[in-house]
């Protein structure tokens, strides 16, 4: 069983799986998480193994609740981990800061995955390390899956030793990278705890607050003193005079190691594992005899600024490179780091990457562009299509986070903004209050539970002219890999529970509610038209299960999916199915540019949702014969 192999075994693992394994080795007793790319495989792995091991696992309704659940366990003496994506920490932050003051009784790890370059459709390249300073929490950064496994356990131990939660910070290329990982011993899992409620932990009123502040600052000083040098390390190789050194953290360590090999550089390398608090002693010792250092870290110059501060005392003459040669935006890789090393060490790899990329770009010139798109059979495409038909594309569409955010692309272009979980409601409310624009709000089921409900309550309370709110309910947190949520009817441990009904919640908040089948254009159109004519708070719950889940279930049960095809004699080549509806299973084939196309449906990717057959004005799309 993946992640349960014996200690000493070597297993290729995703960084996120290695973190899950590290938590298991540390004897974690409680796991709470709201899924978010690029961290999702940590909870997915721990969810999958929850019936084999003793810990409690849950998918919480959002990261704040997940954090609080984990902190409650750690207050009661049970080790806990709360994995999340970078924006998740923003949601949780309200409680994170005070829990840093209270401290914990058992090891607690806040695993946060940053996403430079925005592989996860992230809405900003947030650098989580600043939370360390802001919330007074130490930050540990692995470079690769092997370290991720080891440092997860280490973070638990340190957290317990100092009675303070630790942040384990990764980036996409750690979480989603693979490495042969050597496994460690598994500690016994302790799931029983007791909340003692010690006064000195929770006294944060009046002068108590300052005492708590001093307490956490003292802990951070102790951590820096005791582990600042131990956790970090200097790799000194070669015989050169060592006037130039490199300081590196996170995944950049692995890039730098390989780039140094490729460029034949033997400079001393200071590897930071704890990036908050940064050990002044460690940095001072490293830089005191150097003439130059290069600081390599993705995103903001967090370490570089600290090195600048420390150098003022230790070595004011030191020339510090970092963001003068390396970008603050995007993700690093060998091609980004090699030119910086070439510059500092006066080397040449013999490849002009920019020129090579230009040449490759020329080769790609004029290829059909590939952008993310709704999957074949996606219920959201169908809901957007009906909305487009009735409201058009030109009104304001409040966008939100989830698969339906793909509605931002042509031919829909029906997401005016993408900000944060549940933000479609509050933002449109503000727009409505100062304009008389037509607005439709679009929000997903999991997002509704996560942070959409307060926005709906606010509409009910403060806005008699609330717009139509469409909930895209596909039953799962689909974008991150089909995790269950409060409306699914299943827990993260696979138990059946009563699903919360979005329609009941909306009704209880005073909304006029309609439900439509996402795969029925007729029903969608009827309900949207009906609600459009009314005023006040209106919610349409468009229900249609993510077709990928349906497909898997049917496959498991041995049931066929009825696919569709275009009857050529009926097709008038109007192009509505490809240009207006745009399902990737429908092909518009032309041998030459400008030639009359032939429309076909690729049975290999059609998922039989039938909606194309409903939008074809000629009735030319029919189930395949014999199916």
């Amino acid at each position: 069983m993946r992640c349960l192999e014996e200690a000493g075994e070597k297993v290729p693992m995703l960084g996120n799986e290695a973190i899950a394994r590290g938590a298991i080795e540390a004897g974690v007793g409680l796991v709470a998480s709201y899924p978010g790319t690029p961290s999702s495989e940590v909870p997915m792995t721990l969810s999958r193994l929850s019936d084999k091991l003793d810990y409690y696992f849950e998918y919480s309704s959002n990261e704040k609740v997940a954090f609080e659940t984990a902190a409650g366990a750690a207050w009661s003496g049970v080790r806990s981990i709360v994995p999340m994506k970078h924006f998740g920490l923003n949601v949780a932050a309200d409680s994170v800061s005070p829990v840093a003051y209270s401290g914990v009784k058992a090891g607690m790890v806040i695993m946060v995955a940053d996403d430079p370059k925005g592989w996860s459709s992230a809405q900003s390249e947030q650098d989580t390390r600043y939370y360390g300073e802001m919330c007074r929490l130490p930050i540990i950064e692995p470079a690769n899956p092997q370290e991720a496994r080891e440092l997860t356990e280490k973070a638990f131990d340190l957290s317990e030793e100092f009675e303070l939660p630790f942040i384990l910070r990764t980036t996409t290329k750690i979480s989603h990278s693979v490495e042969t990982v050597e496994l460690g011993e598994r500690k016994d899992i302790e799931t029983e705890g007791y909340f003692e409620g010690e006064e000195e932990m929770f006294d944060n009123v009046g002068p108590g607050l300052q005492r708590q502040h001093r307490k956490v600052d003292r802990k951070l000083e102790e951590i820096e003193e005791k582990y600042g040098e131990k956790l970090n390390r200097v790799e000194k190789s070669g015989t050169e005079k060592d006037e130039i050194g490199i300081i590196v953290s996170g995944v950049s360590y692995d890039y730098v190691k390989e780039a140094m090999q490729k460029l034949d550089i033997n400079a001393p390398l200071a590897k930071l594992v704890m990036t908050y608090p940064i050990s002044k002693k460690f940095i001072s010792n490293f830089i005191e005899d150097k003439e130059e250092v290069l600081v390599v870290e993705e995103l903001q110059p967090f370490v570089e600024k600290e090195v600048q501060r420390i150098a003022k005392d230790t070595n004011p003459e030191l020339k510090i490179h970092g963001k003068d040669l390396l970008p603050k935006d995007g993700e690093y890789n060998l091609e980004v780091i090699i030119p910086a090393l070439e510059e500092v060490f006066d080397k040449d790899i013999g490849i002009d990457f920019e020129e090579h990329e230009e040449k490759a770009k020329d080769a790609m010139e004029g290829l059909p562009p590939r952008k993310p798109v709704f999957c074949p059979g996606c219920p959201h495409r169908s809901t957007f299509y009906a909305l487009k038909k009735i409201y058009g594309k030109n009104i304001m569409y409040g966008g939100d986070v989830g698969c339906y955010a793909l509605g931002t692309f042509e031919p829909y272009d029906m997401q005016d903004f993408l900000i944060s979980m549940g933000a479609s409601l509050g933002l449109t409310h503000g727009v409505k209050k100062v304009s008389d624009q037509d607005v439709v709000v679009t929000v997903g089921d999991s997002t509704f539970f996560h942070n959409g409900m307060p926005g709906l309550a606010n509409y009910a309370y403060n806005d008699g002219e609330a717009p139509l709110i469409v909930v895209f309910d596909n039953r799962w947190t689909a974008m991150t890999g089909h995790q269950p949520h409060p409306g699914t009817g299943k827990t993260g441990m696979g138990e059946d529970v009563t699903p919360l009904k979005i329609e009941d919640i909306a009704e209880a908040m005073g909304a006029e509610v309609e439900i439509a089948n996402s795969f029925s254009q007729e029903e969608l159109e009827e309900k949207i038209k009906e609600l459009k004519q009314k005023d006040g708070l209106r919610v349409l719950v468009s229900k249609g299960e993510c077709r990928l889940v349906t497909k898997r279930r049917k496959k498991r049960e041995g049931k066929p999916i009825v696919k569709f095809q275009v009857e050529q004699d009926k097709c008038t080549k109007c192009g509505i199915c490809t240009e207006e509806f745009a399902c990737p299973a429908i092909k518009e084939e032309r041998k030459q540019k400008g030639e009359e196309p032939k429309y076909t449906i690729d049975p290999d990717i059609c998922l039989g949702c039938s909606v194309c057959s409903q939008v074809c004005p000629q009735g030319a799309i029919k189930p395949r014969k014999g199916e």
Partner: protein, 199 residues
């Protein structure tokens, strides 16, 4: 020894699964493995490159290989092979591709025709030491009624043609362990792939 493979295709085509399989086979042979598997948005019909690096641990650190430096590009979708050219270079990189055109909807919307195989090869040639095209998608369709088996078949062809330096037996057991359902079909597809690669 170090081998850098770029596996590419379109999200939903089984690129990730095939990548896990190859990783497993390399690991079984006692090789150190490193790589990148992207999940998330890229799964939804977008380009999905997977990097797999294996060999001696000493020479492999970075999760992704260097641009202009991979040994093999294996593509389950022809135009995605063209998009991989920035990782390839003329004196080093071989290409193995199938012929399954996954036309993006934006090709339809913007009226850009899908290039034919000759055109695709012509675009790749300046970056390729060798290009091998296997019609595994068509063969899979014919044999099993489902192009998905073309992936395993293409791996088979890459192994037996010597482009992917892994032992056919370790790959076969990886196929077996990865396919709890339809094991028979997958093994047959792999065997057919081995045959196609030898021809």
């Amino acid at each position: 020894m170090k081998f850098d493979l770029l596996l590419t295709g379109v999200g939903g085509e089984g690129v990730l699964t095939t990548g896990v399989m190859i990783t497993k086979a390399a690991h079984e042979e006692g090789k150190y493995v490193r790589g990148v598997q992207l999940h998330g948005l890229s799964q939804r019909g977008g380009t999905i490159p997977t990097y797999i690096r294996f060999g001696d641990k000493e020479g492999i650190h970075s999760p992704a290989p260097m641009k202009a430096d991979v040994d093999l590009v294996m593509s389950f979708e022809p135009i995605e092979a063209v998009r991989a050219t920035e990782y390839a270079r003329k004196d080093k990189t071989n290409f193995v591709l199938n012929t399954y055109p996954y036309m993006p909807i934006y090709g339809n919307l913007e009226n850009v025709p899908y290039p034919d195989m000759d055109e695709i090869k012509k675009r790749i040639e300046p970056f390729a030491k060798d290009i091998k095209v296997f019609k595994t998608d068509k063969r899979a369709k014919k044999e099993f009624g489902d192009i998905i088996y073309g992936n395993v078949m293409l791996v088979g062809a890459a192994v037996s043609s010597g482009e992917l330096p892994l032992d056919k037996d370790t790959v076969r057991s990886a196929v077996e362990s990865m396919a709890p359902r339809n094991v028979e079909e997958n093994l047959k597809a792999f065997a057919l792939g081995l045959e196609m690669g030898r021809e």
